[in-house]
Subunit: 356 residues, 4 copies
């Protein structure tokens, strides 16, 4: 019998539970052997939905790391635990698939990268789901083939459906801000299509609080527009929002010197159109998972494959740090109202105020 | 000063009034010198809207024909007057643009064609508005250029928005039936894309009365599906309806051996999309005129041009007869439930019932 | 540990191999314990791709039926074996998921239904993939909820991408004809949306051979248009083609008295648009499996669920017979050129020719 | 007979010739009585195309102003003449429709507004074609009705099709830059949807020269992204490009607190789709006039109507100055790389550099 990857999932909240199910049910080369969560309710869920299929449920992450034969860990709990758990898993000689972001703090992100560098035989992946989405992959293949010439301008938006509660306000307390939480995906796309080594020239951002004024207390905005200029003649511009009416509306345009590719410009959740008295209506994805669910499954499978076959991960962990740096700069720009500039080796240019 | 075509319009009902305005306002090489309608209310409208710009208003068609210097007549009154007025205008040596249909009666149609043949110096055009629509023209140019190989299958529908009154039922009393009244446009498209000389091999049709059961008293249906087979390996299939929810929904597909062209498959009335809580909505044309208004203006201008410059009309009057024959056959097929077959020279094959 | 459904797959050709993989990799509640194929090459493939995961490979179907603990069989080999294997599996007390069609012969289909009736504790499902497609399900839910009033007209097409070889000609020798092979899906949709008990009133069809004249030798057509009238005021009309340029193009419209639903009217394979010098281009599914792949996986999972939980199958086996009857009637209609009529209890009305 | 507006057109270049034709042929309540151009070739064209219909052709603008009975002038010559001619026409007591921009110089724009203020009985309109476009009007009506809540974010792009010559480079010498020349339309939309009294809070912009490096000599860019923040919590962000592959691609999104409207998000030039071996293709407008031709005709007619009926113009001349100010600020921002900030009464905040 073929050996399957022995995987554990840490954190069984919304995303963690999904990761657990993906590895349990939709990743044929992996076995979900363990799962942990400090929350009794989450463990209760796991006892019902995972344990009957052979998954052992732990309360404690470090106990779980000692599960016999464990190969890999999915780190999917609260954001503040992403980095520490990833580092401890690496130290315990486990491969890691860590939910984004590694951390909302740059130094912490860098510490993870450092830890991973010391264990080059381990696969450590930070999950940027769009990299696994079929449409983005088709677009990248086209772009990479030269079909649109040199990718020059990238427009990308990550926009959530409005919620009639205070979820987004609560969330803003710990998310790092909308550019760090949501736009991070768009930034990652820019680094993908423009190249991981792209060096930022300037960052600017503006924002408003149109539906959630309380968000201001967390120095966050519910609608933000950010512009990132790269050395070498490239521009990425972003829009993030928490107030879309129709649903989760994530769109990307990659504009090259000789053509353009769009992803989801003509959004639709399925192939149905409703002809009604006031026109023709189509529905769009309601949630991030509606839109990118299959990408997460591809992620599980490809991570498994990379570990089992010892092949290269589809992208480098370092990229997660680059993205977080840009996200944090956008967040700073929206907070201060200042444009941030960088020299050609990527160092921030600090204007020394004249002193008398 | 350049001489302009001196035009008169007969019939100032809904369509006639539009023709009058098109010639008055949107046909620079023509002058609307006269208009007539037996109905006092219509003449009242004309006194207000046409007369101030120099149009003389007549009660009587034959009087109007004597208008000094008159070059051409638009026949746009009630259907039963189309043929007689066209014939009298021809006899009075006027060019004629006649609204479709020439008549719902085939022999009457043929009489018009006969009259026109005797006056070959006159331009006599039966208005099939889609022939003047920019999208259909683009499709025809593509098809004619060979881009889709040999046009083989044509699907076309003319579908009206549902009306919450008895208009369609009343209308059915005199329209000749839905295949003669509405599908006639789709039939004309088949004759355009397949060639005016296409010979019918068989005609079949089915229909229902789903919203207007009273239509049955006029032996008509509010939804009909018809299939026309042509000798030489071509098929046209049609759908007509009086109960569309969203609006006027006219769609055509021309399927060739090497490609396909669609017109209005992805219907929209303008370039606006409405993002609302239940999805993305677009509106479509509400009426036939919403959809084909600009085509009628092109028709006025091209008719004027053909007369003034003595150039060939874009299509032959004979086609109007061919179309009406097929429409009438479809109507007969839906009424009798029988498939009608034709030999290779287009004669109906009558199955002689065995007699004792 | 939870007990999983012990499944075997018979026939490891293109579709069978996919079914095997679906049960092996994407059906968490099932285990693929056995597979068989008389063809050594297919078994060789299975040794490589299935056996390492614990699937036992058989040469002989009846031997496989004896596999210890076997619960259910997927019958996916050549069409002529569908019925006999399904019947033998039933007799061996196995649940069956049989690829469509049960048979191209109506009596044979009925024999399968008879066999299934005698074993009411067994789940016997004939796979109509569109019933498991998310978009069709959304459309059906809408229709079923009354959103479009009474479904009255159904237009549906199953159209394959043109192939530059003689595959379709070869295939026509055994497929039962394009209406039995391809349109069968559209017919099934009509029976779904109009109700399984819908009684046919008339069937007519026309067709041409535009790209594959050799198909005529099998009394088949490469483009066919069929119309099915149902008692109670409903019409379904169909188009099947083997010569689409752009790809597999399957479209359905369900037109109700108060609204319309379309599935794939605005076809696209993914969310990418390519802006190029001659316009904006999108790609569509190339094959049936491109379009309906996920539906097959849903099918595997729901079949498994119905067996394990002893719940009702999503639709009845009898429907497969009704569909094949209509498909065969369409095929007869296209061959003879005659419209076929039925009385209100569904018996064909045979016009007795007068005899002297 | 009804009195028609006596109109003259100054400047018979590409746009001027179109204006002349619109007034001659498509503006029923106006008469094109005169036209002028200093260029003999343009006058030659006018002799052929306008004179035969009664238009008198002048060489000199001031001579033309004396044309007996002249009511109104269309100023459509070179940009540097827009302001002086408009002012002279006002002084000669003529109504004026002036092509955008009034001037690329703000003070000059303001001089025009001053001149117009002194003659409040005259209609002076600066033509922003999108204000007359049916789709933008539908969007505005929706927005104005409150359908999307409070308009908060506006994204708009004006993007030209790439030209394989040096037209855009030459043009950049006098256009005032891409934000003044092209984005001006998008800025005007922001002022329309957000309100003419919106006060700018900050302006920032970045740009590249991706296809026309020579444009740098005119301190212009061939791709620019600009962001305008307004006091009161509103943001407009813009993209302008000279290198679109598929055609003129102008798109606008108006994002309100409760919904969104898009104009041309799903661009198409007509209702045709081409099904080809590599997918489904649609074409988009190739030029600005392809896209907005009908809007220019509406403009002619509404200007005529406002003058004849002495009704209010659809928008104020002052708006043209506000738009040019923002355009010039964006152009300055892209040139200097600096973000420009304004206080709540719209005065630029100049950071005084500390001096020793």
């Amino acid at each position: 019998m073929v050996r399957k990857l022995q995987v554990a999932v840490s954190g069984l909240g919304r995303m963690g539970a999904r990761h657990a199910k993906h590895f349990l049910e939709k990743t044929p080369r992996a076995e979900l052997v363990a799962a942990c969560d400090p929350d009794p309710a989450a463990r209760e869920w796991a006892q019902q939905h995972l344990a009957p299929y052979g998954t052992k449920i732990y309360e404690d992450f470090d106990e779980m790391l000692k599960h016999p034969g464990l190969d890999a860990v999915v780190v999917a709990g609260i954001t503040t635990e992403h980095a520490p758990q990833t580092i401890r898993a690496i130290q315990a000689n486990k491969h890691v698939l860590c939910e984004k972001p590694l951390s909302t703090d740059i130094a912490t992100c860098e510490a993870v990268v450092e830890a991973a560098k010391k264990a080059p035989h381990l696969k450590v992946l930070c999950g940027f789901s769009r990299r696994f989405d079929q449409s983005y992959r088709t677009a990248f293949e086209q772009s990479d083939s030269g079909a649109i010439g040199r990718p020059t301008i990238l427009r990308s938006q990550t926009c959530d459906k409005y919620r009639d509660d205070d979820y987004f306000v609560q969330y803003a307390a710990h998310s790092g801000g909308v550019f760090v939480d949501a736009t991070i995906h768009d930034i990652d796309l820019a680094l993908w299509f423009f190249g991981a080594d792209s060096i930022v020239k300037s960052v600017s951002a503006v924002g408003v609080n149109a539906r959630y004024p309380a968000m201001a207390q967390h120095q966050d905005v519910d609608n933000g527009v950010g512009v990132v200029e790269f050395w070498g003649g490239r521009i990425a511009y972003f829009y993030a929002s928490r107030m879309m009416a129709a649903g989760q509306h994530d769109v990307t345009e990659i504009i090259g010197t000789h053509g353009k590719l769009t992803v989801n410009a003509n959004a639709a959740n399925d192939l149905v159109e409703h002809h009604e008295a006031n026109g023709i209506r189509r529905e769009i994805a309601q949630t991030y998972y509606d839109r990118f669910g299959p990408a997460f499954v591809t992620e599980s499978n490809e991570f498994t494959e990379c570990v089992l076959d010892d092949t290269k991960l589809p992208f480098k962990l370092q990229g997660a740090v680059s993205a977080i740096k840009i996200g944090a700069a956008l967040q700073k720009a929206v907070r201060t109202g200042k444009k941030i500039e960088y020299n050609e080796i990527g160092e921030e240019i600090v204007e020394h105020k004249a002193r008398l």
